[in-house]
């Protein structure tokens, strides 16, 4: 940490004394692909005016940058902005980091007028944009050891789901590199060889990790080749290797006999008559006839049964009370006098002959 502070470079510039800006680099001579942090502070000194700043590093093939923080004291007349970037130098030797910066000057009245509009009445801000020319920051980038593929502190994890399979049945391979450092997508397993077929996906790049998913199939035994990636850790200034040993996969051959159908499926229509269809047709006809006949039968029975059943039912009744209940249930108004007679017979002990009462009912 102490070394980091010592290596920090402080640059302060003044621009006509109305703004102040400074740059802090934590390292001026990094290795290629080694991350360095850049802090930029921009402050307004002339508090009599309203100012806005636009600041960004210029795009370049010599380096790659990512903004990781931004803070602003959002006060009119006293604007302060703080930016933090991570910068990866992409080439060795001298690298110039250049910047775009615009200072916008306006007044309180202009700002008030501009924000007084609404959705349908947009008012532009009357302002003056002044381009600030900033001197580039110089980096002296050190080269990497030979054959280095990765820069940073990484670990490698991998997983093969099985080490034997059937012909043309794929095995799945997952590889993941995790750690701190510069990561870009690249192919880790050699593309198709004669001995196997490789199915690939795009590598999944996340913050601090990159992973690959492969499916590999073959008709005969094959070997997943050894993976040996040389990496360099700029903190310890040491090279190391991330390795996957060669893995032999046994492939069981296919019994061709099992692959062939020995029966026609579906059966050929020419060969025989499908009796099940005749059964279906007959059952449909039977249901249709039943559906046609049933309501006719029900209606017929309903209209022919009525009077016959009343006579039959009364004939089967053996007590006065039973007959009284039957008549009450059947048609109270029609048999009102008979009900009254039966009621008197049952509850007042008036004497009547059941047979005679039944005859009275039949006569109705």
């Amino acid at each position: 940490m102490v070394i980091l502070v010592i290596l920090s470079i402080l640059s302060i510039f003044l621009n006509g004394e109305d703004i102040e800006y400074s740059f802090h680099l934590n390292r001026k001579s990094p290795y290629r692909y080694e991350p360095i942090t850049l802090d930029v502070n921009i402050s307004q000194l002339d508090h009599s005016r309203v100012m806005f700043f636009k600041f960004t590093p210029k795009e370049s093939s010599d380096y790659e940058y990512h903004q990781i923080d931004f803070k602003e004291d959002d006060e009119y007349h006293n604007l302060k902005q703080r930016y933090r970037y991570i910068i990866y130098p992409l080439k060795r030797g001298r690298v110039d980091i250049r910047f775009n910066m615009i200072k916008t000057v306006t007044t309180d009245e202009s700002v008030a007028y501009a924000i007084s509009g609404d959705r349908d009445n947009i008012k532009s801000l009357v302002k003056t944009d002044i381009k600030i020319d900033l001197e580039p920051l110089l980096l002296d980038v050190k080269p990497l050891p030979e054959d280095t593929s990765l820069v940073g502190d990484f670990r490698l994890k991998y997983n093969i789901d099985k080490n034997s399979t059937k012909a043309y049945e794929p095995i799945y391979l997952h590889i993941e590199i995790v750690g701190d450092g510069y990561l870009k997508p690249f192919n880790i397993i050699p593309q198709n060889r004669e001995e196997y077929l490789l199915f690939t996906q795009k590598p999944k790049l996340k913050k601090g990790s990159i992973s690959w998913d492969y499916a590999i199939s073959s008709k005969r035994d094959f070997t997943i080749p050894k993976v040996n990636i040389k990496a360099f850790n700029p903190k310890s200034k040491e090279s190391y290797y991330l390795t996957i040993p060669p893995t032999h996969i046994r492939v069981k051959p296919i019994d061709k006999e099992t692959l062939l159908d020995k029966k026609d499926s579906p059966k050929s229509a020419k060969d025989e008559i499908d009796l099940s269809k005749i059964g279906w047709i007959l059952s449909y006809i039977a249901i249709f006839i039943a559906g046609f006949l049933t309501p006719r039968d029900i209606l017929k029975r309903r209209f022919t049964k009525r009077d016959k059943t009343i006579r039959d039912e009364i004939r089967d009744i053996n007590s006065k009370k039973e007959l009284l209940k039957y008549l009450l249930s059947k048609d109270r108004d029609r048999y009102e006098d008979i009900i009254s007679t039966l009621e008197s017979a049952i509850y007042r002990d008036n004497k009547i002959v059941l047979k005679e009462i039944k005859e009275m009912i039949y006569d109705r």
Partner: protein, 307 residues
């Protein structure tokens, strides 16, 4: 005293042809302090009958036509500001009568229907913070029209339970219809005379109370009521305790009207239809089968042995 009932019938028959079940229902309700719900199509002499009854019994009669915009205060009355002496005065509504015809009760929303609840059950009315006793006897005869399904508000179960009986009235017979046509053609107008006094009403009520009912017959009432509450695929909910009480009283009154001094199961069976039919909740299955409440009641009567 039973002969006087025949006189009442005769007086009513001067203006109403047929409709025996409605007239009997009204008399039973009047003698046993019950309220009657009548369902039938228009033009079956519902209003004429109750008006004739009020004249024959010399009772005060009022009619309220229920409409969708009717308010509870239109029935029970309200406190009205009197600017002369800057005070509120009670204006009594048409409910302060002895016979009230609530015509087409299901034309008004439930808040208006509920305004009748207190009057029917407690026989008193509360206006503002004051309660008023209603005159005695007090009977509500409500009518509802089954054909007019549009724009009606179904009576809630609590309201229905307050009615002792629901009477279904149908068209007159051919002979009765002919008699009606002749009377109208001849412009016959007969005056109805008061046949009994309020004192006679009290005596009849007491005589009805004294009609004998055997223990076995009492148990038959309870058997019928409890059977409606048992699990039955056609019934969603059975009848309540008010049904037991009303069936008991109605059976006694029906026996009395038929000149009997004791109740038989025939009276109970006859009265069970009007007492149960508006209280029984039919299941979806029963409605799908096209069953009516009367059909389900008949099934229940068939199941239970008559004493």
């Amino acid at each position: 005293m039973i002969d006087k009932i025949d006189l009442i019938r005769e007086e009513i028959a001067k203006v109403v042809v047929g409709q025996k079940s409605m007239i009997d229902g009204l008399l039973i309700g009047l003698f046993t302090n019950g309220h009657i719900l009548v369902e039938g199509i228009p033009g079956l002499a519902k209003t004429t009958t109750i008006k004739a009854l009020s004249l024959a019994l010399k009772l005060e009669f009022k009619r309220v036509q229920f409409t969708p915009d009717l308010l509870p205060s239109d029935i029970i009355g309200a406190e009205i500001y009197d600017p002369k002496d800057s005070s509120f005065k009670i204006k009594r509504g048409p409910i302060f009568t002895q016979l009230l015809l609530a015509d087409e009760i299901n034309r008004s929303p439930s808040k208006v229907q509920s305004a009748l609840l207190e009057a029917m059950q407690e026989r008193q009315v509360t206006i503002g913070d004051k309660s008023f006793k209603l005159p005695s006897p007090f009977m509500v005869m409500a009518t509802q029209n089954p054909l007019e399904q549009e724009g009606i508000y179904r009576l809630p179960e609590a309201q229905l339970d307050r009615f002792m009986m629901k009477i279904l009235i149908t068209h007159n017979t051919k002979e009765q219809e002919l008699e009606i046509v002749r009377r109208v053609a001849n412009r016959e107008s007969k005056n109805i005379e008061a046949t009994i006094s309020s004192n006679d009403l009290e005596i009849i009520s007491k005589e009805i109370e004294s009609v004998y009912i055997d223990r076995e017959v009492e148990e038959y009432i309870i058997d019928l009521v409890t059977k409606t509450r048992e699990k039955n695929s056609n019934i969603r909910y059975g009848v309540g305790v008010r049904a037991s009480i009303d069936l008991y009283r109605a059976s006694k009154a029906y026996a009395y009207l038929n000149r009997k001094d004791f109740v038989t199961p025939v009276d109970i069976i006859t009265m069970s239809y009007p007492v149960f039919r508006h209280r029984l909740g039919l299941s979806y299955e029963a409605k799908a089968k096209g069953l009516s409440c009367d059909m389900v009641i008949k099934d229940i009567i068939d199941i239970i042995d008559m004493p």
